[in-house]
Symmetry: C2
Subunit: 347 residues, 2 copies
């Protein structure tokens, strides 16, 4: 089985954006608040997926996508904690409907109702609802809810600990994933995303978070940002700072996906990072949508790059495509066995 | 000849820091202002270099270092524009003394007196002084003078244009280089530096700056941040945005150094980025000071990684080690011919 650990619902029906538009309009004109939830039919959901994610799963030969709301649309910097709470519920409920309609193809991961200046503990209720009621298996955690101003404390700060305690209790990991940028310096998918990945890794390197939470697990997406390319720099910095060797530091706690969109990049990743710490991912349909004229294939068809590398052992290949996802997101085992649905998770 | 395009005076005599400490103390207590410039003897300068940069040049077989004030100490976010002006002059004058003492080993690049919220045009006078009076051949340009809060406009904004006009007039490039971070999210050398590199590249990709300034040249240090590792992502984003192909976009304007501290990273860089756009650099003595236990050599001995790659043609090797530096920093030719010194540059 091939599990893609990184997919967002970037093709959601227009009813979702209509809800969001009304919600944003209501920030200045309460009369424009959305009445009820996003109006989306099951057929619209099917249509949004059949010619996109599902078609690409079939074409590329992948089986299941760990699926979450569109990352760039989380926009935690818009409105306040109540805005973020309502928006997160709409987005997560929609992912839940996707997982019910296609229980063999999608397993849910939730958006958290973060908000700048608000303690992360306010996200616990939605995390718990998503996992225990919707059958989700993880969350996306935004290290910068301000959207490019980086006003929150580092991920190793104790302000995050109550949320981490709940993650450990529920046995769910977080993918470290920022959203859109409202800072004109940072292009979202070209700079902000990659910077956040690099930043998070360095935060983990410099603190003892995993001594406090040995069972806490993070996925750093987009191939770990700049980290594998600068692995020597990070090994050297760790050594200069008397920190543990990187392999030891990340072993049970930090994982990289394979969202790197060219052969040489993926080769570097697999050469440098232990196979136990790599999860197959494509971010499909996501940041880069075109076909690479040099290969004739989609840039984000990351399975092809992996398939092209002969030096990976079969055992490592199974880990990267399936085993590590089952280890990092253990609730996926129950979700796939039971059809990913409903409130089987309560209690 | 082997030219190292990236060295900072990280080993400066303690008199420089004493000056800075007094300057910072004077921000709250004017009576503590430094009286006169930093008190440093020529012997102290010699001592600071003989067992560090000069020893390493000899050991590693490099010839000349393009040398600038310590990047992490620029700290443009401390004090105001006058603070930054005085501090930059001290730092640049010290680099000038280094270049006079060792005209065969060092060629100067200046720190700019940037300050948050102050127009970049205020840096023109010091740039002009450094180039025409001190014989410097380029500058370090900080895209984030706020030190990790990213409050300045992107490098493609017209606010920077007056400075760019002067750079073009003087025929000097800028290395895009942030300083220390006062944002606890960003470790300076492990996150802030690398993020700035990635950020600058994406800014260049999304705007028409080089249509406005065809002769403007930037070096993106630290191997281009995350860019070569994510080259496919950037090619795909450029294509989706109807921007020129990356090779074309960077050809005459954007260059990467080789400050990547492991073999696989350097191999990726040389495989992916055109040889015309790579300048040898080591950042020695800099961010990572230790010896790699896996190789027995210094992490930042980047020449070794390059020497280990057999697939680079001799012509490309000459470009990377020397030719490109002479092209990007053309004033280096006059500086090396004349002994890098004094006010030969006036007029």
């Amino acid at each position: 089985m091939i599990i893609d650990c990184h997919g967002h619902y970037t093709t959601a029906p227009t009813g979702l954006q209509a809800y969001r538009d009304a919600q944003i309009a209501a920030l200045t004109d309460p009369s424009r608040a959305p009445s009820g939830g996003a109006a989306i039919s099951d057929d619209e959901i099917r249509e949004s997926l059949e010619n996109a994610q599902l078609k690409l799963q079939r074409e590329r030969g992948t089986d299941v996508t760990i699926f979450s709301p569109r990352a760039s649309a989380m926009a935690h910097h818009i409105g306040d904690a109540a805005t973020s709470r309502d928006w997160s519920r709409q987005c997560n409920d929609l992912i839940h409907r996707v997982c019910r309609l296609y229980p063999d193809n999608f397993v849910g991961v939730c958006q958290l109702p973060q908000s700048p200046g608000v303690p992360p503990s306010t996200c616990i209720a939605e995390l718990e609802r998503s996992v225990t009621e919707l059958g989700f298996i993880g969350c996306n955690l935004n290290p910068d809810p301000s959207g490019g101003h980086w006003t929150a404390p580092p991920l190793t700060d104790r302000a995050w600990y109550p949320l981490y305690e709940k993650m450990v209790e529920l046995d769910v990991p977080a993918m470290v994933h920022v959203s859109s940028s409202c800072n004109p310096n940072f292009h979202a998918t070209g700079a902000h995303y990659i910077n956040a990945d690099t930043t998070a890794f360095m935060q983990f390197l410099t603190a003892d978070l995993f001594k406090d939470f040995p069972a806490l697990r993070f996925i750093i997406p987009h191939g770990g940002g700049a980290v594998p390319y600068h692995w020597g720099r990070y090994r050297g910095l760790a050594q200069d700072m008397k920190r543990p060797p990187l392999g030891e530091l990340i072993r049970h706690n930090v994982f990289f996906d394979t969202c790197v969109y060219h052969q040489a990049g993926i080769e570097l990743l697999l050469k440098i990072v232990p196979a136990d710490n790599i999860l197959f991912g494509s971010e499909m349909v996501g940041a880069v949508r075109g076909v690479d004229p040099e290969t004739g294939h989609y840039f984000d068809d990351t399975k092809r790059y992996l398939d092209n590398i002969r030096s990976v052992s079969d055992a490592d290949r199974v880990k990267i495509f399936e085993g590590n996802a089952r280890k990092v997101y253990p609730r996926i085992n129950r979700a796939l066995a039971s059809g990913s649905g409903e409130s089987r998770w309560v209690g």
